[in-house]
Subunit: 317 residues, 2 copies
């Protein structure tokens, strides 16, 4: 049971795509400290291997590995499964709930990975994709965050290093807390769009869906640039295309997909990678460090769950 | 004469390619404060216009404008010409000397412009030119500077913001001064190459010419990356090609030209912009801010020259 400290535990590290050796060593170290046994099933080829491996384990760390009812059926002793990473649609949460198995993810471990990607895109755009022409510097320019959670604050930390001026709007964080975390709070979403860069860090909700529209984007000053590492659907695609057409100075730096990519590229022509950047797929979190951090966080969350009954990152079915 | 304070002076801003309006306003403000008259000759089309404009001026600010013996001949009252920028091969220094005219440039105004370009290249390489594959983060990695002047320190400032660890070798700066400026001093050039990133900030001299060779580069750890925003000739091109062939993990990020560019691109194949980046031409200093800063610095240097006899950035024929 969770919170029963000091018991012998066996944890399965089930990774169809293995962690880097360095990360595995750190995960092992976390379990060694609590005298847990770590079993490894890395780079396995068939589901049967996974089904066999789960039989006697108390806990599991997975990556994109599928944990469905069939796996849970075989995992007679399993108390907790932790997805090392943010996304968790590979876990059947309802099946976990039915068997009283706790499921967790490890949010926040990719914040710096996303933040560095944001600056890669900003600099590539500001310096015209290194085409030899004169660009501009980030120093002294303003960046405004819609949502000021872990990722936004990681972007903010780098922005401060570049000598940028930070603004933020987050209805769930008190203004003085925003201020303490380095950004000037603004009163409304619209106020964010007075600044050259607006970086989106909101979840997709009925309220945020397609909320970044032409009216807001046209408020942006010269060189206005929207950065989206949040969710594709937050931006109104049709109106984004109109803004790209009407405002030749406007830029969109996007790591979350855009359905009308070809149309957007046609509008900006040879200014692709300057006015518009689309990464090949959502890759903000895809770094060695983010993956390793997630693995280590998963190990620590399992130890915290068993030793102290911690359930902070439990997922709801 | 230099150092004769409080006299009326006329300064010509002669820019075949004009400064941004914002920069002109700031240059004007610097002269207004000293009650100097500023004449503008912007976007002129023929040398005759320049020859006519210089007749009655005490000082000149230029950009890439040619100041040769013919110009100096007409500039009967000229005491000082300042190139707003670093390069000054557009000024005939011998002709200036013959007429006792002081010539200056404005070094150091482009340090942040170069530093931001360095990070653009590093991030683009680390994130695989945004191709959707998993990359790595800069946080916690080490960068070593060969030469720790203004540009290196500007790169270092950003590196610190990214949570990198800094090392430097500079025979002209005492070790404790390097330490105070945020980097760990190392004993030899070779010691720099123990670190993942080495950034070159040395002038071209007989000693530095082709000094970055295979022996040094092969010392670099996995993912070893050379960054060159200094001078093309400091790197031994033939041996660089050999290293690119022999070390598939090695990267070269270059803003100063490379003669065998096509050969290097052929070696790295689809890893161009990841293993090797060549900007289209030396563009590190090419930003609105660097150009504006240079114009304002030029104005301040002219005032300092006349009012206080300052000659810090005088050029030798």
């Amino acid at each position: 049971m969770a919170g029963e400290a000091g018991k012998a535990r066996t944890v399965l590290l089930a990774t169809e795509k293995a962690f880097a050796a360095d990360a595995v060593a750190k995960i092992q170290a976390a379990f060694d400290e609590s005298k847990y046994t770590m079993k490894k099933l890395e780079n396995y080829k068939s589901k049967d291997e996974l089904l066999a491996a789960v039989a006697d384990v108390d806990a599991m760390i997975i990556r994109s590995d599928i944990v469905d009812a069939a796996v849970l059926e075989k995992a007679a002793k399993l108390k907790i499964v932790v997805r090392a990473g943010a996304g968790y649609d590979n876990i059947d949460l309802k099946a976990c709930e039915a068997k009283s198995i706790t499921a967790m993810n490890t949010p926040g471990q990719n914040a710096n990975a996303v933040a560095e990607l944001v600056f890669g895109m900003m600099l590539t755009s500001a310096r015209n994709n290194y085409d030899g022409t004169s660009g501009f510097e980030l120093v002294g320019r303003s960046i405004a965050f819609y949502g000021y959670g872990a990722v936004a604050r990681a972007v903010g930390k780098l922005a401060a290093g570049f000598g940028m001026v930070l603004y933020a709007y987050d209805p769930y964080i008190p203004k003085d807390a925003i201020k303490k975390m380095g950004a000037e709070p603004v009163d409304t979403v619209a106020d964010l769009f007075k600044h050259q860069y607006v970086s989106l860090h909101v979840p997709l909700t009925p309220e945020t869906k397609e909320s970044i529209n032409k009216e807001l984007l046209l408020k942006m000053p010269k060189g206005g640039t929207l950065i989206n590492t949040a969710r594709m659907e937050v931006v109104h695609e049709g109106q984004m295309l109109e803004v790209l057409k009407e405002r030749p100075d406007f830029c969109y730096l996007c790591d979350v997909g855009f359905k009308a990519q070809e149309e957007a590229k046609a509008i900006v022509g040879d200014k692709y990678m300057k006015r518009v950047i689309f990464t090949k797929k959502k890759m903000g979190a895809q770094t060695i460090e983010a993956n390793n951090n997630a693995g280590i966080a998963a190990a620590n969350q399992i130890v915290g769950f068993f030793e102290k009954g911690e359930t902070k990152f439990s997922l709801k079915a």
